[in-house]
Symmetry: C2
Subunit: 501 residues, 2 copies
């Protein structure tokens, strides 16, 4: 990957002057078009050999374009907030919205770049990290983002020369630190693993561009031109995106029998028994969340199911057992403007709890394969790939000690009708029922179909679905609490005999 | 993945009769359309619980359609021919050509399915195998193939019942063997890992379809309908494939400087020295290929470079040192009709040497990113993804003990012109020069560009490019032989001091 960037590329001053004047104008124009159209973000990722000038390139881009629409981010050791969450959380939070740009120093390549020096290519840690990166970039590209990855290259000789020069010049000495000397000492070894990393993450939708950086003029003009060209191409590409070919359909079962049709929805629990068990379970949950071990985990609860299935009521029975500083309830409705400008998983990543905390999602990322599928808000290709993306997402956060507890509350169509009517009749419940609920009810069958598919395709050992018959609210709430307690106990490795009844 | 296939799906006889009559007609129609259009192959992969009826389904499909255009393949232990080659060779060789179908029992899922029982999900072996499968299916799908993956499911109870019944009935006893009993004994464990495998290989372009197989009528009609629906959708999809959006371009270097421009092309070697060194190197190579350790490896040599760069001459200097039974030379020109009906890598897979043998490719799979790119035979999206596919291919065969030795023979434009003229002037060399060579020469620059890109993006530690200045034929031939010997010595772990000069 690096041979072409050790050829002695260069521009003379006249060539540079000519090119720079034209380039500045093009960069501004293209940035303006990007903002006007506002249909995709641009992520500029700068990696490279130390002292190759990542900072200079970023400064120049900010100078040549309108800096109000470009964010820059460096990634040194994660801060407290970041350390308390899954590793990729720090990248999700800074993704630029559609129409804007972000310049990332190293980005998600800063982790494995250094890790792999101990965990070499081929090791489980390295392969795992690489797979995560590739899934992430693939998802971003599928969501329309333009990812521009630059590796600013210097040969070993050049790096040595620069470090010598910097060390000798007090005005430049601030530009390097000890890790740069370390890099030089391990140059061959580091570059061997970088080569593997770059080549294997060299995706058709997010290729690496290796830039010789010995001559600053050549480096700056090359990067600028790449940016202009890539954005113009992407603008064209996005405008024909509508016409793309869709994925194959999922054929419904030929005998009309679906997973969610077969659940037992009814159960009987007396009020006395309910009150008694509820108190016990809430006490059990509360005790669990106050254990010291709990601080090494966090909990994400997902509630899905038909309208009026009792999601809100179940959630309140959980939160009643918790300290108010320890949890957040996130109701998911139509995305905000800010959320629409991001990949669909972004709004869920931002709400991931830190360690020791609980987030309760009243509806969730499953909207992608539920309402967005049924209403046609997402194309079939988009929701078909979402099953895999969601599985990746849940696997990723689970491996960072997030306990993912997913509930599907199931009621019958008749029970829903009864509850709708009740809501309309009772003054203080009337806010809970809208025209939209009635419209969704007309789509009952399509939702059962989509629900059955998603349960089938996203249940897993680490993040199983708990399917709960919810015609009886008492039963449903107790079941929810029981499963939640059991999942936390399992994650905390509390021996079964020590668990409360 | 399996819950929906334990619901008790079924059809009664009347429903079946009605559906079957219609289905048979549709299957024949769609098979006919597939053949007429001839623009993609259909791969039907049958996995599942033992006794679920994979054989019955295959028989029925052969009965309902025209069996002349459907091949069936089982994969038990690899035979001698297969064991001597990389593991996936057995799948490549049986890929159906465009317009035809193949039914595969287990296919590439038969290996990891069993391996993972010892190598569990999460282990390096398992993850590695899974990645290989996913790359393979992704490549097939990108090449236009339709992949239909069916899992024929039976619950543990059902399996137990069947095995009992088969054991009791002499007419059915042949249908099961000991491994089926083993499966039943380990049902829960096996299904846990199958779940992981199916979910993670559930690609948007090649999703799994899990079919409840207790009721044969339901099973057969469901699979038949899936096939009809998927093929009709794919026929539609392929016809709009031309209009799809292309990948972003690779911008040429702004100062016009390219890797291949900078090679030192000239060298001087006297005829006496050449003859002497040639004899030594040929002897060294011959000795290497006769070592017992050599039988555990095979060698693939790739020769690329401009027309008249001396590829044929260099190849003949290698083969002169070898036993004629030990090598094959494969000249690569435009693909044959048979080859055009397959993914572009197919024609190279078929020529992979068994262990102990050598294949010399005079031009190679790099045509995809060279002539096909320059002449526009492949779309940009197709050749852009080819870098990754080629890297995967070479990594895969290298890990199966294939030594991949790649040569780029570089001559100057002036030297090419001189050789072209010489060929035209000398009677017995005239067959070597055609109109096409002159046309290619007009594209010199585009080839240098494409060549520089491919060397940059496909060189790796396991399969490096050897760039050889070839204006002097003597020098080029000696270098080729030297590199070849050194690579074999390194692979055979022959200590440097024991190597010949």
């Amino acid at each position: 990957m690096f041979a072409s960037a050790e050829l002695g590329h260069g521009l003379d001053k006249t060539q540079y002057k000519l090119a720079a004047d034209e380039l500045r104008q093009s960069l501004l124009n293209i940035q303006y078009q990007l903002k006007e159209r506002g249909d995709f973000p641009v992520i500029i990722l700068l990696g490279g050999v130390p002292t190759a000038g990542r900072g200079q390139v970023a400064n120049l881009l900010l100078e040549w374009m309108d800096p109000r629409h470009i964010a820059t981010h460096t990634f040194s050791s994660p801060n407290d907030e970041e350390r308390a969450r899954p590793p990729f959380w720090r990248y999700w939070r800074i993704l630029p919205p559609k129409g804007k740009m972000a310049i990332l120093f190293g980005g998600w390549y800063s982790g494995p770049m250094w890790e792999q020096l101990t965990a070499r290519p081929g090791s489980v840690a390295y392969e795992h990290e690489l797979a995560k990166i590739i899934h992430f970039e693939k998802m971003l590209a599928d969501e329309g983002a333009l990812i521009l990855k630059f590796w600013l290259h210097l040969s070993k000789e050049q790096l040595k020369k620069r470090l010598k020069k910097f060390a000798a010049d007090p005005l430049l000495a601030w530009r390097f630190d000890e890790s740069d000397t370390w890099f030089l000492d391990h140059y061959d070894e580091v570059m061997r693993s970088q080569h593997d990393l770059l080549q294997r993450s060299n995706l058709a939708d997010a290729p690496w561009r290796v830039i010789e950086s010995t001559d600053e003029r050549y480096r700056d003009i090359t990067i600028g031109k790449h940016i202009v060209e890539a954005i113009s191409h992407h603008l064209e590409r996005q405008s024909v995106r509508q016409n793309r070919i869709d994925a194959a359909p999922l054929m419904p079962s030929i005998d009309g029998l679906r997973l969610l049709d077969k659940l037992v929805l009814d159960a009987h629990v007396s009020k006395t028994s309910y009150n008694q068990q509820l108190a016990q379970l809430q006490e059990r949950l509360n005790a669990l969340t106050r254990l010291p071990e709990f601080k090494k985990h966090s909990v994400v609860c997902v509630f899905e199911g038909m309208d009026a299935a009792g999601k809100g009521g179940a959630i309140r029975r959980i939160t009643a057992a918790l300290d108010a500083r320890q949890y957040r309830t996130i109701p998911i409705a139509a995305p905000s403007e800010e959320e629409r400008a991001q990949p669909y998983l972004w709004r869920f990543w931002r709400h991931l709890p830190p360690l020791g905390q609980i987030t309760l999602f009243d509806r969730s990322w499953y909207g992608r394969v539920l309402v967005e599928r049924v209403e046609g808000f997402a194309s079939r290709a988009d929701w078909m790939r979402a099953y895999g993306e969601i599985n990746d997402f849940e696997a990723q956060i689970s491996s960072a000690n997030v306990i993912v507890v997913k509930f599907w509350l199931a009621i019958s169509s008749e029970e829903q009708l009864r509850r709708f009517k009740e809501r309309e009749a009772i003054e203080y419940k009337r806010f809970k029922i809208t025209e939209e609920d009635w419209r969704n009810r007309d789509q009952w069958d399509a939702y059962i179909e989509a629900g059955s598919d998603l349960i089938e395709r996203t249940g897993s050992a680490i993040a199983p679905w708990h399917l709960i018959g919810a015609n009886n609210k008492y039963h449903a709430r107790l079941e929810v609490l029981r499963h939640l307690c059991e999942r936390i106990e399992a994650a905390l490795a509390i021996p079964v005999k020590k668990r409360k009844a």
